[in-house]
Amino acid sequence: MIRELEERLKELEGKEKNLRLLRIKRRRIISKYGSKLIPYDRVQLARHEKRPKAKDFIENIIVEPMFFHGDRLFADDKSIIGGIGYLEDIPVTFIGTNKGRTLEENVKYNFGMPKPEGYRKALRLMKQAEKFNRPIITFIDTPGAYPGVDAEERGQGEAIARNILEMSRLEVPIISVFTGEGGSGGALALSVANRIIMMENSIFSILSPEGFATILWRDGSRYREATEVMKLTSRELYDYNIVDRVIEEDISFSLKDFENNFLRLKRAIVEELDGLMEKTSHELVLERQDKYRKIGGEL
């Protein structure tokens, strides 16, 4: 359905030259499709090559971002981008898992799949944030941690575990934003946060639908079916209290049309941060840890 919607919008853009009418007709088409979206469509939107990537989110929300490199141990993982900048007038540390739009870019960014050096780079930047009392904002769009020989050799499991533990005890506010895909421990390792915000058309799951179908039914081609039962959409996760906030989205297939979405997200981050910055470091850690301690504990 997403391809169909995209086609129709493209067709309209070719035909309708009156800008005002174009906007109205666009909205009409999008709302017609938007109300019928099934989880699989959301997955497609979350992964869409034209959807803004973490770098776009950062550049549209953080003022004057400075990007830093390296984990000080082994390498600079290009799938993790991070640094410092302003959120309005507040200095913050930002971290993102980056994907590319083209194959070439995707190879460079390893399709948004970090290796241990990526998680350790993120942790280094987060520790730095704590030292200088800067809030942390993470932007997540990753299929998961990279399943490769080198990643295992350098301790993928240890790197993820360490990030989860260390993030849980950082004495500064942490807000995590799911911008596209959020898969497995690889996403969790960057999202142990005080507040989790999901873009309406982002997903967050234990594993990719393909991987899920392979493990559960030994048939990766049943991924569509998997999306129906995995409960991976923003609304479902909101209802489970896993996610604190969902940012309504205008469906769009270009950076320009995404502007309002960025604006809404930015407003939400600022609002959440205002609240969090009034808390003591002790409260921040306690509340964050307690939140995760309670999930699935009503047994």
Binding site: G148, R154, G155, I164, S205, I206, L216, V229, G296
Partner: protein, 290 residues
Amino acid sequence: MEQKAKKGRSIISIIKNLRRFRKPSIRAVVPERLFEKCDGCGELVSKSSVEKRLFTCPECDYHFNISAKARMDMLLDEYTVINRLPRFTNPIDFPGYKVKYRENRKKSGLKEGILGVEGYIEGIRLVAVSLDNSFFMGSMGSYIGEEVARAFEYAGKRDLPILVFSTSGGARMQEGIFSLMQMAKTSIAVDRYGETRNLYISCMTHPTTGGVTASFASLGDVILAEPGALIGFAGARVIKETIKGELPKGFQRAEFLRDRGFLDDIVHREHMRDYIHRLLKLHGYRSCRI
């Protein structure tokens, strides 16, 4: 090394100890036959000789899969179970989970894939936890995550050391995001336990993968493994598909991990009790016996 394991001093104490314990249960490990084919070397080995060596092969030292209960029986002087009884929950209303859950209970004879106890090693009081991969492959769902967290809290409150044996196929897929969140819950429990300055010994056994590797199992003050245990985050098949090539020899085995800096030591099952006893003593824990 292996020769020493057979003839060393510790084996005598282990056999002596064995007599004192209840006999380890041999459920699903060595069937009711006199001989058993070893998965490690393919040799036919006598059941009694395997049992005497705490379910390791007399020919090749292969470590047979054992239940959580057998693990406690061979390790502890005596113990009491501290787990709560599991109640089935289906957090994301996953179709068919209940049926699958019942099947696993029937097949394994277990209520869930974890056993948590309070017990003694040479009179030293401790908390011990073991996953059991005969139930749902030891996959971590909400119950296991909760029980792991509670065991750490139980130990922390009483100033006791904790010993955790992992074996897990990873996440309990049927519990979706709730399964994933157990990684955070258990890691946070480790962190809070750490504040009490007590000792957490993690021992990874065959196989330990996925979310368990990427949470509490990798966060021990001392991290051990049994020889030959498969330990990793991503599954070997997925990695093979991703890299479109062969995996190096010994990939994701305990020895491979030790050589790359992720394990403190590899400990033969026959030495485990002794090893842990020494660790406990070195950390100032004393026997309660007079």
